[in-house]
């Protein structure tokens, strides 16, 4: 965001988005927002966010729609000068295609529009358990974007970089060829960043049945994101599903996974399943440095003490542990289930996962999570 005019246009269009989301955004507030932006460091996304929020939001209820609009409008737009995000991310593309289809009009110029917002909104907030097959199909495409987010870790590997610290002797030598062997131009390398491993343990027992289809779609998208992801399903026993989900077609992937899992919609033994994972995969150091996501409602037939013990073991090795519980999306929910209570002390982040909006939250958590417990 450097030149003046694009900022004005972005903010004005963003204001229109907000109005569609139900916020009252008049020209006065927009003017405040723009003036505010001239006083803060616009290269800091959080300052831009807080400036817009302080000037455009007037009540607590508006914070949530504002956040969603902000995420959609600023964080996913092609805005970086180096063009790294120049391709519209999948969710936006899907929205545009869908909106074009709605109007029966052909693609225009790839400019993002604020259309399709409300239809998308309904889908985002809808509980997975209440979705029709068509809605699930539409959800699938939206999930791609959400599923690709991951925290980064510093790799040992050095990559060419203009602000690096380590002299890239090989390239210096190459460059000096042009200047008669004198190393006039220097080249550097620095450590690159790679996504962390992601391990997902997904509860597919009876009590999770309503959610497992949508969540497996999410996992399919995660596996398909090309990053290092391992997926396991558990009910009374543990099944490794990564290979099955690696098929491009989600329907086929789900069918394949369904064939492999023997205990669909049966009871749950969380403690035993996590133990099985720890014993086999944990010992292979899959957990080490990984973000582990457990998806479960915490209803457990087994021994809560075992859940606590095995979750502690998992947490010690993992970079961070996230627990996704679809029930947490319900206002009255309290983590009273024995397995859930036993697991919570070993969980870094406890999030809902009952609709797309909450999965987006999960994606944000995954992208930003930091190690909390000591090594």
């Amino acid at each position: 965001m450097s030149a003046g005019v694009p900022i004005v246009r972005q903010v004005v269009t963003f204001g229109r988005c907000l109005r569609e989301a139900g916020l009252e955004v008049g020209p006065g507030r927009l003017a405040d927002a723009l003036t505010g932006l001239t006083h803060v460091d616009v290269t800091r996304p959080d300052d831009v966010y807080w400036t817009l929020r302080a000037t455009l939001v007037t009540r607590a209820e508006e914070v949530e729609p504002f956040d969603r609009a902000f995420r959609a409008w600023f964080l996913r737009r092609p805005s970086r000068a180096d063009g790294r995000e120049a391709v519209p991310p999948p969710a936006r593309r899907v929205l545009e295609q869908q909106a074009r289809a709605d109007r029966g009009a052909p693609a225009e110029d790839g400019q993002p529009h604020e259309i399709g917002w409300s239809a998308h909104e309904v889908l985002r907030q809808k509980d997975f358990a209440a979705m029709t097959p068509e809605e699930l199909a539409r959800l699938r495409v939206l999930l791609d974007d959400v599923a690709a987010r991951r925290p980064l870790r510093r790799s040992r590997r050095l990559r060419p970089h203009h602000r690096g610290r380590v002299l890239d002797l090989r390239r210096v030598a190459r460059l000096s060829l042009a200047t008669g062997g004198d190393p006039l131009e220097r080249a550097f390398r620095r450590r690159s960043e790679t996504p962390r491993k992601l391990v997902v343990l997904c509860d597919i027992s009876g009590s999770m049945e309503k959610y497992s289809r949508a969540l497996l779609l999410f996992l399919h998208a995660a596996v398909g994101s090309g990053r290092r992801v391992e997926v396991f399903a558990f009910g009374t026993r543990l099944t490794h599903l990564t290979a099955d989900l690696a098929t491009r077609d989600p329907e086929k992937a789900l069918a394949a996974a369904g064939d492999r899992v023997v205990d669909w919609a049966a009871g749950t033994r969380i403690g035993d399943s996590v133990k099985a994972y720890n014993d086999v995969w944990g010992r292979r150091a899959l957990t080490r440095g990984a973000v582990v996501v457990v998806v479960s409602d915490g209803w457990d037939r087994g021994d809560p003490a075992l859940v606590g013990r095995e979750m502690a073991r998992l947490a010690r090795a993992a970079y961070a542990v996230v627990w996704v519980n679809p029930l947490k999306g319900h206002p009255a929910y309290q983590p009273l289930a024995g397995g859930m209570q036993a697991a919570l002390p070993h969980v870094d982040r406890f999030v809902a996962g009952h609709n797309l909006a909450s999965l987006e939250e999960l994606a944000d958590v995954l992208a930003g999570i930091e190690r909390r417990h000591a090594a």
């Binding site: 009252e24 008049g26 006065g28 507030r29 405040d32 003036t35 505010g36 006083h39 803060v40 460091d41 959080d46 300052d47 807080w50 400036t51 929020r53 302080a54 000037t55 939001v57 007037t58 009540r59 607590a60 914070v63 947490a315 309290q334 209570q341 919570l344 002390p345 070993h346 909390r372 417990h373 000591a374």
Partner: protein
């Protein structure tokens, strides 16, 4: 009056003993640079009033506070004539006559917070506290004052602020404020702080508290907020409690000391009962686990 950057303001607030999150710092910063009032909303005890006080300290400004209540009127918010002195003057001038101009001169004026803020030559932070408790008419009047910082006193004339005071309004959301008033203000919702920030706040406000105790105290209060309480504790309660625990010379939380001191955190009998009967042991356990992990 103001700061060059948000960071500058953040540091100054920190020095004043207040740890804002980035959002609050940005809202206050914008309020100063755009010269607009800022409306702070949030649960009781999250530090709305403290924020205004810290802002005054940070700016080296005088804090003028108008505490709102139902039935607050112009006489208590803006000015009043000092009738007693007027009477005395009339008495003293028994022989001669007293002109009306003389009687309604500035020396007979009692300045209430709003007039004081408008008239002041020194930098001022005007805190209009709990605006939701005042009634509609007062809100409408306030709107006028906040739009041009002028106060008209029929007998005296119009008084205009030479320098606009920084204005902070707070509301507990017992009712929704008028849109017109909101339109004049920047807005920020202060939520409960993250665990890490709350630990920082405790350590800043209770100097010398053992690190582990600070962590466990914050974690325990956080656990309380997750329960279905009549009045979930705010940061203010966390600080009070940490003070109490530190004064008792504790290094760590345990069930017994929590039992004894819980009254400084929970102010409702039914909340106390609920926690004592069911959740106490588990919460202590959780707080200890969270801070030793």
């Amino acid at each position: 009056m103001g700061f060059e950057t948000i960071d500058g303001l953040e540091t100054a607030l920190h020095d004043a003993g207040y740890l804002p999150d980035r959002g609050l710092a940005t809202a206050l910063y914008l309020s100063l640079t755009l010269e607009k009032p800022v409306l702070l909303e949030g649960e009781a005890g999250v530090g709305k009033t403290e924020a205004a006080k810290a802002l005054a300290t940070a700016l080296g400004a005088r804090l003028i506070r108008l505490q709102c209540y139902e039935g607050l009127d112009v006489q208590h918010a803006v000015y009043e004539w000092n009738y007693l002195r007027q009477l005395l003057r009339i008495r003293a001038a028994q022989e001669g006559t007293v002109s009306e101009e003389e009687l309604f001169g500035r020396e007979f004026l009692i300045r209430r917070p709003l007039l004081e803020a408008v008239e002041s030559d020194e930098p001022v932070v005007l805190l209009i506290d709990e605006i939701d408790r005042a009634d509609d008419e007062f809100e409408a009047f306030l709107l006028e004052v906040l739009s041009d910082f002028q106060i008209t006193i029929p007998e005296v004339g119009t008084i205009t602020a030479e320098r606009r005071p920084a204005v902070v309004l707070t509301s507990n959301r017992t009712r929704e404020l008028h849109d017109a008033l909101k339109r004049r203000c920047l807005y920020h919702w202060i939520g409960h702080p993250s665990l890490e920030r709350e630990v920082e706040i405790v350590r800043l406000r209770v100097p010398g508290i053992p690190e582990r105790l600070a962590g466990q105290t914050a974690a325990f209060v956080r656990g309380l907020r997750g329960l279905d309480l009549a009045k979930p504790p705010g940061v203010a309660e966390t600080i009070d409690w940490a003070h109490a625990l530190a004064a008792l010379g504790r290094e760590e939380l345990d069930a017994a000391v929590v039992e004894d001191t819980l009254g400084s955190v929970l102010k409702y009998h039914e909340d106390l009962e609920l926690v004592r009967d069911s959740a106490l042991a588990a919460l202590v356990e959780q707080a200890r686990a969270a801070q030793t992990a």
